[in-house]
């Protein structure tokens, strides 16, 4: 009976949309909120470019922007999961500080001298990073256990952690700055040496484009297998062109930023390359920290959307009681989230300390606020249950763009703080409006 009245379910809903824009959005199934953020980012970039007299949209600035974003971008992917489950982590900046210090001491003192590997040993960076990851995950496990099993609110536990780990960072060397870092370790911080160059950037671009195409094809195959509505072919092609276009554009920008003249000349001399009249043009290509951050973004998106753990994180955020009653071990999931956050802090610590070529007491100061702000600007709801990794990464880029743009405009630093604070509140207000209208 009912079957006779049922509308066939395998027709794509975009068939029924009238307005061409709406039809495009429905057919491609793009997230309008994410598109809005990209629009906001474009406005910020173009605005700063005008007000800084064309300094903002240069390969050099965009490349620097990407490197500056990397550390916060790595941490924000974990903060999304923390906030989605209605928790908060105020300690990430301090964890970054103490882990950076541990990694610094490992590579300058413990590994080369006390364990006798000698400076510059190729294993130093791996062992230092591993030690950092162990400390980061350990701190996360401790905080997560107190939150999940002893039922102390995350706000308090991580506020305590904020003080404890900052103090611990100081205590490791009694306040002494640890420098310089191992040369291989330093590559994680970017710079001319810490970038992959034009050829490898193109290889990355090819891999990324192939992944986009395979992903689209695979998605279509899965839908056909279960007789779900398919996107129109033109929408699939549009998605492929947009995705690959963005990848290629980003690589073009990264490759358009050459090494500084003197570094290039020194490199040419050392390798016996003849320097042409017009000067030697060696592309930076994509910076290693940016590749790390993008890799983390891909892995975290996978975890959040394709694994049981990710599903539980979102279900717990939507209705903690329902998740518990459905038989999910919510406490253990909470501990795992904080362990993951600790690991991401360690990766971010490697990037920041490598970039600075030193581990200092102040490393990561105020990062917790930037990370939380980036997550929230990126659409993560503090009420829980809502947030995406991609949105949060964009949020990190927006935050860093604001900062970098204001520096280029020569704005005083008190004004910078005022603007960033105001933008945060404004962005969340806009988001609230958007969500209210949607439902």
């Amino acid at each position: 009976m009912a079957d006779q009245h049922a509308i066939p379910t395998n027709i794509h809903p975009s068939r029924f949309a009238q307005n061409p824009l709406q039809r495009f959005l429905m057919a491609t199934e793009l997230d309008t909120r994410l598109l809005g953020m990209i629009g906001a980012l474009a406005i910020i970039w173009i605005g700063f470019n005008i007000f800084s007299g064309g300094l903002f949209l240069t390969p050099r600035n965009l490349w620097n922007l990407s490197v500056q974003t990397a550390s916060v971008a790595v941490m924000v992917t974990g903060m999304v999961l923390v906030i989605v489950t209605r928790n908060i982590d105020l300690s990430v900046g301090s964890i970054l500080g103490v882990v950076g210090m541990v990694m610094g001491v490992m590579q300058t003192d413990i590994l080369p001298s006390q364990l006798g590997l000698g400076l510059g040993h190729p294993m130093i960076w791996v062992l230092s990073l591993a030690a950092g990851l162990v400390v980061g995950v350990g701190i996360g496990a401790l905080q997560g256990t107190i939150i999940a099993y002893l039922r102390v609110p995350a706000f308090i536990v991580t506020l305590g952690g904020y003080l404890v780990w900052r103090g611990a960072a100081w205590w490791v060397t009694m306040g002494r700055t640890v420098a310089p870092m191992d040369p291989t370790f330093q590559l994680m911080g970017g710079g001319p040496a810490g970038s992959v160059g034009s050829l490898w950037s193109w290889i990355v671009a090819v891999i990324a484009c192939a992944a986009i195409l395979i992903g689209l094809y695979w998605g279509r195959r899965q839908r056909r297998r279960f007789n779900f509505p398919l996107r129109p072919i033109w929408a699939e092609i549009a998605l492929a062109i947009i995705g690959c276009g963005l990848v290629i554009g980003a690589v073009l920008v990264a490759n358009a930023y050459p090494w500084p003249v003197r570094i290039a000349a020194r490199y040419a001399e050392a390798n016996g390359i003849p320097v042409p009249e017009s000067g030697l043009f060696i592309s930076h290509g994509i910076a290693i920290p940016v590749l790390i951050a993008l890799g983390v973004g891909v892995v975290m998106t996978f975890i959040a959307t394709r694994t049981r753990f990710g599903r539980y994180v979102f279900a717990m955020g939507g209705n903690p009681e329902a998740a518990e009653l459905a038989g999910i071990n919510t406490r253990w999931v909470t501990v795992k989230i904080f362990m993951l956050m600790g690991a991401l802090c360690a990766i971010a610590a490697a990037i920041s300390s490598a970039r600075l070529n030193a581990a200092t007491n102040a490393l990561g100061t105020l990062d917790e606020l930037y990370v939380i702000a980036a997550a929230v600007i990126g659409g993560t709801s503090l009420a829980g249950g809502v947030g995406t990794i991609a949105g949060a990464l964009l949020g990190a880029l927006v935050m860093q763009s604001l900062q970098s743009g204001m520096v280029l405009m020569g704005l005083d630093s008190p004004l910078q703080s005022i603007v960033v604070g105001a933008v945060l509140v404004f962005a969340v207000w806009l988001d609230t409006l958007y969500r209210r209208n949607k439902h």
Partner: protein, 262 residues
Amino acid sequence: MLDTRTPLVEMNDISIAFGGIRAVDRASIDLFPGEVVGLLGHNGAGKSTLIKILSGAYKRDAGSIRINGEDATINNPRDAKAYGIETIYQQLAVADNVDAAANLFLGREITTAIGTLDDAAMESKAREVMGRLNPNFRRFKEPVKALSGGQRQSVAIARAILFNARILIMDEPTAALGPQETAQVGELIKQLKSDGIGIFLISHDIHDVFDLADRVVVMKNGQVVGSARTEDVTKDEVLGMIILGKVPPGATPGPGAQTGLV
């Protein structure tokens, strides 16, 4: 004649206290395959608490639970599910922010060969089950938040029957529903009953359960007042049990029965 078989569920002398208040006091209750037992009582009579002990949401202080005649250990919702006990809660325990398929499979996701979520397979199965339950349902891609009360209820019921429940607990299953949806749930209960599933129907409203139940058990102040086969008593007599604790001749008195009264 039912009593000659092994009961699906036997809860004996169950007690639980919250901060000195005896929410359930030496309550015993049983359920046979293919039987619908209505558990009635005022708000606060202890019926939801008793049943949450069976579904693993609370841990009992005293008493024993036997499933199919064997002692059962139920310490959390996962244990209960392992015994085939599925619960549909009063406050619709669904995660609002994820879609119907994610809710149906919450905690028991279908995964691919490499251990990732197989969303397509889950959605396909969800479409199949929901098609049986509520053929008009087709908002599979939207978060459950966007659904009506009845649609959310069908998601909750579908989740319970999806995994071959043998014992189904429905806590005020029609409280959030309109008349048509309530009738649908009634049909569904009859269908499940004919499949040999034992069902506990919990309600504070006798009209919700009297026509569907084979037997009613009435609770008051945490104690069982008495139980009766619905054909042996009238609605008014059951109301007397609920309100006054007065046990009519057709019913079997429990520890909470009023004696020497009125």
